[in-house]
Symmetry: C2
Subunit: 130 residues, 2 copies
DNA sequence: TACATAGTGTTATATTATAACATTTTAAAT
DNA sequence: ATTTAAAATGTTATAATATAACACTATGTA
């Protein structure tokens, strides 16, 4: 469950844009889209993105340098994320699987070490592209 | 098991450097280190990196934009990778766990879709940093 | 030899992200 | 209400990461 945060103006503008988007958005594409709302510089975008990631409202797709809104209420605030990525159309979907998150949260490496924070990206072809 | 490839001169120089390194290396750090061997431009580095990733000799740590040599002989040529990353000292270790790779290779999403290719990055504190 | 494929060298440029600093807003705490 | 600390903003400049385009060379193979 997401802790409720009151977003600031810039954060809200940028979150709304990402949330409405059907696909992950890149920082400079976000910048282009919010310039008419007065956000003019990359740093303004990156600062809002950093905060939104920190509080779990969005996630960064590391292999794509892009950002997607979280629609997974069981997401532990940006700490444990999993996505499927279509290698043809680049559609990205957040995976919400209790089994998967439980398996990964309980996974121990050779030294018996557990990791509560992880990011998993699966690659394949989506339904349409198969 | 890695298919054997004969590396070209640039590929070999860059692989040797990454392989000797105790930590993931970034592209421009690689460039700096191989300039005395005649590799002068970013593109020469990126082309070698692309190929080395493709054939599974190295992996890219996506969250760090850095490259590490593969020391996991069961790695299916760059397709299925898992790492632990220390958030303090940035030590990165490739995870070699039959159980984990089996679980992930067999994971099915809501649509019953399987993904043979994935990248997983665990974050936490290494032994030293705890 | 002819041909296709992969690799190289080079210059220029695109894309992604942060440093530094001054100022303003916000939300407590007194 | 005033003080104060933390967070956010605005701005300019720059750093770091990655690719486009083009001419050329090496390699394998039919
Ligand atoms: Zn989420
Ligand atoms: Zn697709
Ligand atoms: Zn490997
Ligand atoms: Zn460490």
């Amino acid at each position: 469950m997401h802790k409720e945060h009151t977003l600031t103006k810039n954060q809200q503008i940028i979150f709304d844009l990402i949330d409405k988007s059907s696909e992950p958005m890149k920082a400079y594409s976000i910048l282009f889209n919010v310039q008419k709302k007065g956000i003019k510089a990359p740093l303004q975008v990156y600062r809002a993105l950093d905060k939104l990631v920190e509080i779990g409202k969005i996630h960064k797709i590391e292999s794509r340098n892009a950002f997607i809104a979280c629609h997974n209420s069981s997401c532990q605030v940006a700490k444990a994320t999993a996505f499927s990525i279509c290698e043809i159309c680049e559609k990205v979907t957040e995976i919400s699987s209790a089994g998967l998150s439980k398996y990964l949260a309980n996974f121990k490496d050779k030294d018996g070490m557990k990791y509560s924070k992880y990011n998993l990206e699966f690659f394949g072809l989506c339904k349409k592209c198969r």
